[in-house]
Amino acid sequence: MNAFWIILTGSLVATCCSLLGCYLILRRMAMVGDAISHAVLPGIVIAFLFTGSRDSIPMIIGAGLLGVITTFLIEFFHRYARVQADASIGITFTWLFAIGIILISVFAGQVDLDQDCVLYGEIAYVPLDLWLTENGLSFGPSTIWTLSFVTILIITFIVLGYKELFLTAFDPGYAAAIGISTTLWYYLLMTAVSLTTVASFESVGAILVVAFLVGPPATAYLLTDNFKQMLVLAVICGIVASVAGYYLAYWLDGSIAGAIATITGIEFGLAFLFSPTHGLLFKNRKAIPV
């Protein structure tokens, strides 16, 4: 049963992250996902301090807010202070992360939280944190409920906003011309990324969030030229990585999150070499004149 809960958790996170990741890598904003996943740390700490508990809801609000502030700061430094884009990302998230660690040090006694939990997360503990009713009825791990809710939310967001998200990512000029606000959809997308990051954080850690945001979408991007197919393929890659990663970790007796990230890398490597359309091997063969 434990294996099932862990793989389900991984698959839910993989679904949210892979879907959103497709938009990020096509907008050349892959590193913004990385930045958000680190920069929400002070938000989590502050939420802890205010509520004094590890409840998911205040944590999601605190960190989600900080995620949006992060994207706002990155935009601000880039557009108004004319800092080059990559530097603006790097400065913003390291700054906020440093503040987060300092906050943890200052309130070390009050906050039951350390860097390890934020960076690695421990997906193996998911089955332990059960949602129990007062008369002892168990509804399964509480993380599953949070993540299922977020997954449904993200899928609804993408289905309802498909046209707008698609146009603002691929042709912002046209989108603006037909009256779709690029700024609004940019911030909506970023809010979705922050929400996913934060909801996944406690269970899987920052590193797996980044791996899912970038790995499966990049793999899918090498396999198809159709965007809808890319979304589906990315989700499949993410879920396969969750399953395979669990067993790899079981076999090596190591971190499950680390193993899943490793598998996303292997998947990308395979697509990079063997993709029928964009793979290295087939591309070289095509290049030979006949």
Binding site: T94, G254, F272
Partner: protein
């Protein structure tokens, strides 16, 4: 205050080690960071920082010891490999650089975590403390570490000075560098190697995540103060060194405070202040310049209107009502009034009971703007073969920025013309 003197007397050996170590690390990585920033690859430092972990673990598995040199060697190998892979993926597929960086970063780190946990679970007692490598330990630097840091810092600085000219050209004009026979590939490898060196050693002080800041932030801050690479390098090194000292001082006065994050916090504050307040490139300076330009354009447009009205009535100094002025051009009334009052204070116009009138100075300035407008229209029609009804907009903007020297040049070029393309007189 007592702590301040205690700290800055550097009597305590431990303080000396921590401070010197932080300063050396911060300033040498700041110098290398300038080059990666200018090559628009600021985030590769982040990737390298994450990619050293599997190297450290592999080195431990293969050698079975925690000898710092062997661990550093392992870190160096995978760090270097990560950069090569990023380059390879971007050049050989449709994957963009930022995606490649994110991918390599998370996968290498994932492999590292997998190996690290596998080692920890293997029951090997020798492994304890291996994970300290991840989060930095600046507060516990010892003399031995310092030897390594100084060696690397000096190596980085000497290499930078030695290859200064080549690296400079690589940053600013790669294609030219290639065409005059510079070994661009080797230089890129050199820069890669320097970056990896800086990161590998720097992680010891500030930890994985914050290492990216040590490369990017001082360089980005320095970029706002100067246009010259040499000065930028020195400034970045100074900013790095200052943050190193301050970070060490903070964690000395409050021992619970981590050194690395404080160094990053301080360097970030310096950077943000630079973005805001740097003269010329800073946000506030640019905003003020924009406001100044806007005011100047409004004033000149008003004077131009007075002059044009004067032309129409062949009388430049009579009173004009505000409405008469605004019929020729759509300026918001409130804005126009502010502009008029400002012009009055500067002595370009006078206010009379029944309206406003140009002074002698005002007439001269208004005349000049009209002349520049018409000269530019003529220039565009004559030299760029633009139709005469297409040149007005262009002249509207350019008339405010032409200098007296340019004006003289234009007059000569156009052979002191009398009429503009619309056959109105050029005053």
């Amino acid at each position: 205050m007592k702590e301040f003197f205690e700290f800055f007397s550097f009597a305590d050996a431990n303080i000396r080690y921590v401070t010197l170590g932080s300063v050396l690390l911060a300033s040498s990585s700041a110098v290398v960071g300038c080059f990666t920033l200018l090559r628009k690859r600021a985030l590769v430092g982040d990737a390298v920082a994450h990619a050293v972990l599997p190297g450290v673990c592999l080195a431990f598995i293969l050698s079975g010891t925690k000898n710092p040199f062997i661990l550093l060697l392992g870190a160096f190998v995978t760090g270097w490999l990560s950069l090569i892979l990023i380059d390879y993926i971007t050049s050989r597929s449709r994957i963009k650089e930022d995606t490649a960086i994110g991918l390599v970063l998370s996968v290498f780190f994932g492999i590292g975590i997998l190996l690290l946990t596998a080692i920890q679970h293997s029951g090997n007692a020798a492994q304890s403390g291996l994970d300290k490598f991840l989060f930095g330990k600046a507060a516990s630097l010892v003399g031995e570490d310092l030897v390594v840091f100084s060696a690397v810092a000096i190596l980085l600085l000497v290499t930078t000075i030695f290859f200064y000219k080549e690296l400079k050209l690589l940053c600013f004009d790669e294609i030219y560098a290639k065409s005059i026979g510079f070994p661009v590939r080797s230089l890129e490898l050199l820069l890669t190697t320097l970056t990896v060196f800086a990161v590998v050693v720097g992680i010891q002080a500030v930890g994985v995540v914050l290492m990216a800041a040590m490369l990017i932030t001082p360089a980005a801050a320095a970029r706002f103060w100067t246009e010259r690479l040499g000065i930028m390098l020195i400034l970045a090194a100074l900013i790095g060194a200052f943050s190193g000292i301050t970070g060490a001082f903070v964690s000395y006065t409050a021992p619970a405070m981590p050194t690395g994050p404080w160094i990053v916090l301080i360097v970030s504050m310096i950077a943000i202040l630079s973005f805001a307040f740097a003269p010329k490139r800073g946000w506030i300076a640019r905003m003020m310049r924009r406001r100044h330009n806007k005011v100047q354009i409004l004033e000149e447009n008003l004077l131009k209107l007075f002059y044009q009205l004067g032309e129409q009535h062949e009388d430049y100094f009579s009173n004009r009502t505000l409405d008469a002025i605004l019929t020729r051009r759509n300026i918001p009334k409130k804005q126009a009034l502010t502009g008029l009052h400002k012009l009055k204070r500067q002595g370009y116009i006078e206010k009379h009971p029944d309206g406003w009138a140009l002074t002698r100075e005002g007439e001269i300035r208004g005349k000049r703007v009209v002349r520049l407008h018409r000269l530019w229209e003529l220039y565009l029609t004559q030299y760029l073969q633009l139709a005469s009804d297409h040149v007005h907009e262009d002249a509207e903007t350019i008339e405010h920025i032409i200098t007296p020297e340019l004006e003289q040049k234009l007059m000569e070029e156009l052979n002191y013309p009398a009429l503009d393309p619309h056959h109105t007189k050029i005053p």
